[in-house]
Symmetry: C2
Subunit: 322 residues, 2 copies
Amino acid sequence: MRVDDPAQLLVQAKQSNRVALARLISIVERGGFGARELARLTWGQGDNSYLVGITGSPGAGKSTLTDRLISQVRARSQEVAVIAIDPTSPFSGGAILGDRVRMQEHATDQGVFIRSMATRGHLGGLALAVPDAARLLAHVGFPYVLIETVGVGQVEVEVVGAADTVVVVMTPGWGDAIQANKAGLMEVADVFIINKADRDGARETRRDLELMLEMSTFEGWVPPIIETVATEGKGIEDAFDAIESHRDYLERSGAGRRKREARILEEFTRIVHAEVSRKVDQLLADPSFQARKAEMVSGEIDPYSIASDLLGFEEEKGPESL
Amino acid sequence: MRVDDPAQLLVQAKQSNRVALARLISIVERGGFGARELARLTWGQGDNSYLVGITGSPGAGKSTLTDRLISQVRARSQEVAVIAIDPTSPFSGGAILGDRVRMQEHATDQGVFIRSMATRGHLGGLALAVPDAARLLAHVGFPYVLIETVGVGQVEVEVVGAADTVVVVMTPGWGDAIQANKAGLMEVADVFIINKADRDGARETRRDLELMLEMSTFEGWVPPIIETVATEGKGIEDAFDAIESHRDYLERSGAGRRKREARILEEFTRIVHAEVSRKVDQLLADPSFQARKAEMVSGEIDPYSIASDLLGFEEEKGPESL
C-alpha cells in the first residue's frame, strides 16, 4: 500500500480518525494526482452537509465569530469542521497561518476539526483545493463545514461565495458598506454581521448597509443585518438563527438546489482548466514542442495555430461562429 | 468588407491613421474572434520595439512620470505609445479611466499615442489584451511602448512584469519598500524610482530599498534607485538614462532575448487557456452535455472523468506518471 493512499486514509477518516483526515487535507493542499484521486472518491456524496462561508476584511473579528458559531453548532450536538483560508501571496511566498491560538479552545473536542489551508505555488490552486476540502469534510460526515477567509481577495470571495450561506462580517471601524461593495461582497452576502457593534459608528454602518440593500434587487431572500460583539458572545444566537433561516429558505424555495448545481458547474469549469494546465505543462515539456516553440519565438508561426494543433481543437471559421 | 476588419484597419494604422489604431485597440479590448485574428496578423513582428512597464502604488505619480518620459522619448525624435491599464473590478463593474487630463498635453503631437485600456467582463482578459495591444503598437511601428498601471493588482504586476524594462515607482509617502515587496514588485523591478523625492522620508525609503536589494541576489543587473520630482521635471533624464542602461545591459548580456522568449511562452500559455475557455463554453452550451451534467450534479459521475472525455485527453494512470 502507498504511504498516502487516499482510499485507505478515507476509510480511516470516516471512522473519526483525525490524523488520517489531516493527511487527506494535506493531499488536497498539495494538489496533483492524490488530490484528483480523492476528488473522484468523494464526488457527489456530501449532500447532507451544510457549507457556511465567512468573509470580511481583516480585523473584523471573523475568527472569534467563527469560534462562537462553532459553539452554537456544538450546543446542538452536531459536529463541525472549519477551513481557514490563508492564500499564499503569488509573489512573496507568503505566510501560513498554522496553528491558531483558538484551536486550543476546541482542541479537546473531538466534534470539532479546524484546519488552516494555504496553497504553495499559484494562487489559483486555492480555488480548487478549498471546494475539494469542503467536499472531503462533508464526505467523512461533518454536517456543518465553515469556511473562513483571512482577507477579501478575489479568489477568497469566489470560493466563499459558493457556500450555501455566505456571512459577510464588517465592523463600525471598517468605515462603511462601500468597501464591502467594492470587494464584491454585496452580491454574495446572505447574512450581514456588524461585529464589534458596541463601538462608535455601528448605527452608521447599519444605515449605509440598509441603503445599499434598498438599492439592490433580491429574489425571495433579503440579507438580514445582525449586530454582534463576538468577544463577549453577544448576538451570536441571532447570527446562527439568521444562518439557519437562510438554510430553511434555500430548502423551501429550491434556491439551495440551484446554488449547489451552480457550484458544481463552477467547480467543473475549474477542473477542466486545471486538467488543461496539466496537459499543457506536459506538452511544453515534450521534445516535439521544442521545434514549434522556436518557430513561435522567431515569429514564423502564431500561438493560436499552435494552440489549436496541440489541443486538437478545430479552427474557428469566422465571426459568424461566435 | 466587414466594418471592423482587422487586416484593413491594420494597413491604415501602419500609415499612421490613429483612428484606425484606436479601433484596433478596441477590438483587442473586446477580445473574441477579432482579437484573435489581429493577434495572428501581428505575431512575431515587434522586435524593433522596446516595451517599458511602469508600476507602483496609486498616488505615486506614475502618470506624471510617464508624461515626462514621453517627453524624453520625443526629445530623441522617436514615436511613443502608452497603454494605461485600468482593470475593471471583477465584481462591481468598475470604472474606466477614459480620457485623461494629460492627454491634452500631447494631444496635438502625432508622435504620441495614449490609450486607457480596461476589459469589461473578467479580470483575466487584461492578461491577454495588454500583450496583444503592446504587440499591435510595436507592429504598427512605435519604437517605444510604455505600459502604465493604475494599481499593483496581481494581473497588473504580471502583465507589466513581462516588459523589457520594469520601472517601479514609489514615494516617501508610500511608507517603505516593504509594501513594494509584498506586492511582488521586488522580483520584477529593473529600475526603482522614488518620486516626490523632495518630500520627507525620501532618504528612509532609499535606505529601506537598498537594504532589501542587499538581501536579494541578482544576476548581472542590480536595479538602480533614481530620485525624481516628476511634477517639476527633476531627475527625469536620470530615470530615462537608467531605462536605456538596462536596455543596453539586456542587449549585451543576451538576457533581453531570454526575457522576450519567456514572455512569448507566457503569452502562449495564456492563449492556450483562453482557447480552452472558449471550447469549454461551447461544450457546456452543447445539448449533448446536458445529460452528463445531470449525472455530474447527481453525483453519478465525477467531473474529472467528464473533463477527460470532453477534452479528449487520456486518463492519467497513477502517481508514477507525475
